[in-house]
């Protein structure tokens, strides 16, 4: 590559990165602006202030934000864990076994995934109120499973298909029961796939707004995205832009941290060396 080409690629890359990250930078910048500074017409705050963060962590909005943060973490982690575990068994069966209705399961999963959330939220609201699941953790975990399970089954079954079947047959010849072969050989090999799936599932649940706002009413189970929508300004003539920006930044942090932690586990080519090279 000539120097010119290198410069060209570098500039192009920078442009794309700037384009993608600009909204995030804007939110960060907003979160440090004081309420009178929001419409100052410039990108950077005139004076950087942490009053927005103080407001959502210790101030007026804290009683709305902090329980919501706890709910979001709890509900999303539980939903992710259940989805991964169930999807692992389902995907293994789909990838390895031949049984009637296999195609049906996969297409049903896909159908569930593309079904618009908004169309079932009203009946679900009525049903949940009837059976006492309204405004509970379980009341959110169940619909979240409908978001996370299909995608988990699809991605995991793709991962399982990648694992050479001979691996498992070798284990069986070596004296393993089917369960031992699954646990000692297939699960460790599928670990990167499971982590990837877990991250995707967690994001899906974490980002949900419609279920969160419709199926909850108090801080007993209201997740963060719903709580953000309920922030109010200092007066009714003032919109709560600063605190929302600050909360958005805080909510993004765990997601970034998760990716950074699991990035090491999602090493491509863990199966290298298993078979001929």
């Amino acid at each position: 590559m000539s120097t010119r080409e290198k410069v060209g690629w570098g500039v192009g890359g920078l442009l794309i990165v700037a384009y993608c990250l600009f909204p995030i930078a804007w939110i960060v910048s907003l979160s440090f602006k004081s309420s009178s500074d929001i419409s100052n017409g410039s990108f950077l705050p005139t004076v950087a202030t942490n009053e927005n963060y103080a407001q959502i962590l210790t101030g007026d909005a804290a009683e709305l934000f902090l329980p919501a943060l706890r709910n979001s973490f709890g509900i999303c982690l539980i939903a992710t864990a259940i989805a991964c575990l169930l999807a692992m068994f389902a995907a293994y069966a789909i990838a390895r076994l031949d049984f009637p209705g296999k195609k049906l399961i996969l297409s049903t999963a896909l159908a569930v995934a593309i079904f618009p959330v908004i169309s079932i939220v009203t009946p679900l609201f009525n049903l949940w109120r009837e059976i006492g699941l309204y405004d509970t953790w379980l009341g959110l975990i169940l619909p979240y499973l409908s978001l996370t399970l299909p995608i988990s089954i699809w991605t995991l079954s793709a991962f399982f298909r990648e694992i050479p079947w001979e691996m498992e047959q070798a284990a069986q010849v070596d004296g393993a029961t089917p369960w031992q072969a699954f646990r000692k050989v297939i699960v460790p090999l599928a670990a990167p796939g499971v982590f990837t799936t877990a991250i995707i599932a967690f994001f899906l649940a974490w980002n949900d707004f419609v279920y969160g706002i419709s199926l909850t009413s108090t801080s007993a189970s209201r997740p963060v995205p719903a709580a953000l929508g309920l922030f109010t300004g200092a007066s009714q003539f003032e919109s709560p832009t600063g605190p929302i920006a600050a909360a958005a930044v805080l909510v993004t942090i765990p997601v970034v941290v998760l990716v950074l932690i699991f990035q090491r586990r999602i090493v491509a080519g863990l199966t290298n060396g298993a078979v001929k090279g």
Binding site: M167, Q169, A170, A171, V173, P188, L189, L270, V275
Partner: protein, 416 residues
Amino acid sequence: MAAIEMNHIVKRYGDGYPAVNDVSLDIADGEFMILVGPSGCGKSTLLRMIVGLEDITSGDMVIGGTRVNDKAPRERNLSMVFQNYALYPHLTVYENIAFPLRLAKVPDAEVRAKVEQSASILELHEHLQRKPANLSGGQRQRVAMGRAIVRDADAFLFDEPLSNLDAKLRGQMRAEIARLQRRLGITTVYVTHDQTEAMTLGDRVCVLRKGVVQQVASPRELYEQPANLFVAGFIGSPPMNFLPASAANGKLDTPFGPITLDESRAARVGDRDLVLVGVRPEMFEDASLVDEALLDRGARFSAQVDVTEWLGDSQYAYLPYESSPEAAAKLKELARELDGDQLRTQAIVSIDSASRIREGSEAEFWFDTRRIHVFDPQSGENLTRDEAAGAELTRQAGEDRRAQVERARARATVSA
């Protein structure tokens, strides 16, 4: 250690196609049996039925006196080396080899002793803490073998274990497998499509074609006394030449001139319009280099040389000939069945590397008519097969083998 008996084994897939059709085969305790054949002949399927990874449609599989048809692979106590090794990538070499022992809940100290022992047999000591991904092809192959020998299995099964290695390494590993098997004296079934492996490793070789056993014999018998056209064409490289001929009054009329058969063979062949005469390349020679005394034990002919290939230690010449459409069609069909493709009818002859015969020239050749075979093109049957001579060859091979095993064991005891 155990003998393996197969009685009328059939494997039929869902579409009714019999991948393995009525195979009966007895493998003696400690014997090295090779399953060989072109791709799709059912050899791997048969091996997988022995180990239990493939269901048996009908027939009995008996290992060490017990019928194992309905037993899971783990209950059969066999160990297998897969074509692509199937090492566990998340475990170190040590844990890979130890895996069968860990499953059997063997105490740690014993595991260490056994893994160390197999590692020293296979010279894997310095790699024990590495992961399979960091090993070379040959090393991975050795790890796969280590995992197979670490426990006291009743038999070893190999599924084309060397096909992923380059030619040089393949030669080394072949010798290694032979040495190991002699030393351990364990019943071994080895699937390959490579006839060098089949000829050098096996005590006996089972040639399969479309799921049917063609011949089970020692490599030497297969080579000298093939049962039919298929075996004759499959064993040997370059392959046996099949010359179309007509037979009458003990004489064969071939494109390379007439051949006179001795009385007993002439009687068996009889008079036929079309037979195929099988002549191995090395039965030919440059007529000018043949010893006077030998000349009248064979037939001389002159032919146009199309191409010559000089390989240093030997030399091949390609001699095209004319044949009837019927014979040509038959030869083409045979070539296709043997995974090859015959574009023109030609004979490949091996001549002395010192021969001055060059391509494009007309030259005098000689071939030894005492060792030729005559085949019926319709049934493929070898009309001139000498069963007694063949059986004698296999018996001799068996004796040699027993002596080898005894020597190997004696050596092992001395060194131990």
